[in-house]
């Protein structure tokens, strides 16, 4: 279609971009059948009729470091600055099921997130925070069943009605095997645990979102934007099948599934990705999973500025990138937004940098008119064509995964990990060669001496020592017979292949530690062995 003298442009998802779009382009790509109205099936234009006009997106910067006292202070700083939700970062020992005094945790306690050993730590971390006003998202996966139980137990202790409690856990273990890497148990036991949390919450905490399926980290690991959505959907379907085989009806849980997506790269491709993804997920839930309730078909999401797009070079440019990513997220119709801060290629963000991210989002809601009208990109020939094309790309990838035996199988033998890591390698070659332009990295560079140094978040070993002290105090003051009894019940339930959540709840309430509960389950389930495949 384009004139021969114009350079061919193909987006990351593999769609050739024309220099001009018109009504015919929209027709040729499948027409406007899938657009519909906001708040109505198939939700291309948004899951709510009035979208941000009624309620702006939730602002939820990822935060947590040191011990629960430090983190509680950071939470309050963010809330005082107008943040409307919390997104909790845990340290690696907590994420991998180790106590703070475990030898393998040495040097890592409180480093990349908050250290948590027992319910006591949750009591401290959320002290003074109104859990009805501020919804809390826990970025936790391998040990998610334990930390969800801690959150519910903490809220219950503070007098909240668990029946009405809102909140989210990431709890998407399949993507941890592909990227991010905080797995603990083998693949099948891990999927069973996700099923246990969904089932438990459906019956006991029906407003709580037990899973946030993440395309985000698979995109960081190398896949393209259309594949990011497709992989998230096949993973979500795997969890849905896990609980539906237990007799749960799709409408009992699907409305509480949520998503986490990434933003970097081409602006239009990302916005089309979200619009296309919404309608495709709605179709999957309605047609494949046979849901009746429209709410079950909602693609609820957090969409944030991805770390993968930010650069080590000229880090202050990341402030500008973050602003574009926030704009994309708003144009894409997200429910919740978080931005990686400009210094995150170096360190965990300081109060200064995270406040810039928060202010970036606030500029969109308060200065730029992004909350005034629903789905402002709709009706653009380019946007509607691209939305249709992105949906087709996603469907192609989903069909490929099915043809290869399904996502669980592909994760188990390392096939999908090898595939995305090969893509990451190709991207790095393209960045190194300049074929994939990155401002400040392979074009418009500055001299090394001119590069600004960023301020580093200081890691305080004292915080880790205090955490170990407080763990020892808990172990000395709790009813250790009750803990032993709860842990043996947990083991028995794991062996009997029944839902382990009630037993975890009991152990949590007895102040059993993350490491003790994890070890009890490892005894039964074993540990994941990573397939090394290139």
């Amino acid at each position: 279609m384009s004139s021969p003298e114009l350079k061919k442009v193909v987006n990351e998802s593999g769609i050739e971009i024309q220099p001009l779009y018109n009504e015919q382009s929209v027709e040729d790509s499948g027409g406007i059948e899938f657009i519909g109205e906001p708040g109505e099936y198939p939700f291309t234009r948004g899951i709510h009729r009035d979208m941000y006009r009624k309620r702006p997106w939730t602002m939820r910067q990822y935060a947590g470091f040191g011990n629960p006292v430090d983190t509680n202070q950071r939470f309050k700083f963010l809330i005082d600055n107008g943040q409307t939700g919390l997104n909790v970062a845990f340290d690696l020992p907590t994420q991998t099921g180790l106590d703070s005094d475990d030898l393998r945790a040495e040097g890592e306690v409180g480093r990349v997130g908050m250290a948590v050993d027992s319910l006591r730590d949750f009591e401290i971390a959320f002290d003074g925070i109104d859990l009805e006003k501020i919804t809390v998202s826990l970025t936790i996966n391998g040990s998610a069943a334990i930390l969800i139980a801690m959150y519910l137990a903490m809220a219950e202790k503070r007098g909240y009605d668990i029946d009405k409690l809102r909140g989210t856990a990431q709890n998407d273990i399949l993507k941890e095997f592909i990227g991010r890497g905080t797995w603990i148990f083998p693949v099948d036991a891990s999927v069973k645990l996700v099923g246990d949390t969904i089932e438990y919450c459906a019956h006991n905490a029906p407003k709580y979102s037990p899973v946030s399926v993440c395309g985000y980290h698979i995109r960081e690991s190398g896949c393209n934007p259309a594949e990011e959505m497709a992989y998230a959907f096949v993973i979500a379907k795997a969890y849905a099948h896990e609980v539906m085989k237990r007799g749960l009806d799709v409408d009992e849980f699907s409305g509480r599934l949520s998503y986490n997506f990434n933003i970097f790269g081409n602006l239009f491709e990302q916005v089309a990705k979200f619009r296309a993804g919404r309608s495709l997920w709605a179709k999957i839930v309605k047609e494949d999973l046979q849901a009746k309730d429209p709410k079950s078909m909602w693609l609820r999401m957090i969409a944030g500025g991805g770390g993968g797009g930010l650069t080590f070079e000229q880090p202050e440019l990341n402030i500008v990138r973050g602003a574009y990513y926030a704009l994309i997220s708003a144009l894409g119709g997200t429910q919740t937004m978080a931005l990686c801060s400009y210094d995150e290629a170096y360190t965990i963000p300081t109060e200064y940098s995270t406040r810039i991210s928060l202010r970036t989002m606030q500029m969109l809601t308060h200065e730029m008119g992004l909350t005034d009208t629903v789905d402002p990109m709709a009706g653009s020939y380019y946007m509607e064509t691209l939305t249709n094309q992105m949906r087709s790309k996603m469907e192609e990838t989903m069909a490929e995964v099915d043809a290869e035996g399904g996502i669980v199988e592909m994760v188990r033998d390392g096939r999908v990990q090898a595939k995305v890591s090969k893509q990451a390698y190709q991207m790095q070659l393209d960045i190194d060669s300049g074929a994939f332009p990155k401002v400040g990295v392979n074009c418009f560079r500055i001299d090394e001496e001119e590069e600004k140094e960023v301020e580093f978040h200081a890691y305080n070993t004292k915080d880790a020592e205090l955490q170990v002290d407080s763990l020892n105090k808990i172990r000395a003051s709790r009813d250790n017979d009750a803990v032993a009894k709860a842990l043996s019940q947990l083991k028995a339930d794991a062996k009997a292949d029944v839902n382990v959540m009630p037993a975890i709840m009991e152990a949590v309430k007895a102040y059993a530690t993350v490491g003790e509960m994890t070890d009890a389950m490892v005894e039964v389930f074993g540990r994941y062995q990573e397939p090394i495949r290139f």
Binding site: E108, V112, R180, T182, Q428, L429, D432, V441
Partner: protein
Amino acid sequence: MIAADNSKIKILVGKPGLDGHDVGAKVVVRALMDAGFEVVYTGLRKTPSEIIEQAMKEEVDVIGLSSLAGSHIHFCTKLKGLIDQYGLKDKLWLIGGCVPKPDHAELKRIGLDGIFPNGSKLEDIVDFIKENA
């Protein structure tokens, strides 16, 4: 031609500690393989002793570490003790990932031969190994 020379060099790429970021490590493994080196990847979550054990078993010439969770000084200090203990000082020792400039002097003092922070070019890593291993 290059591949034939490089095939005599064996490299271990290791992930010490609990850090789950393996995109970069795997990208580097592929680049080293494409350059013709023999490469062994440890996988995630290895203790310093596991890394040294594997390096000795595989009789590698180069030990490369990838670290993105900030604990690089801690692990390199531990590894240094084991390297001395097992007489592995002749191995070329490299680190890459989120390894900020203020830490480079300390890492050099510990004994790292090459530091390749985010933003390093793959061919620079390949060339460094070719010249120094």
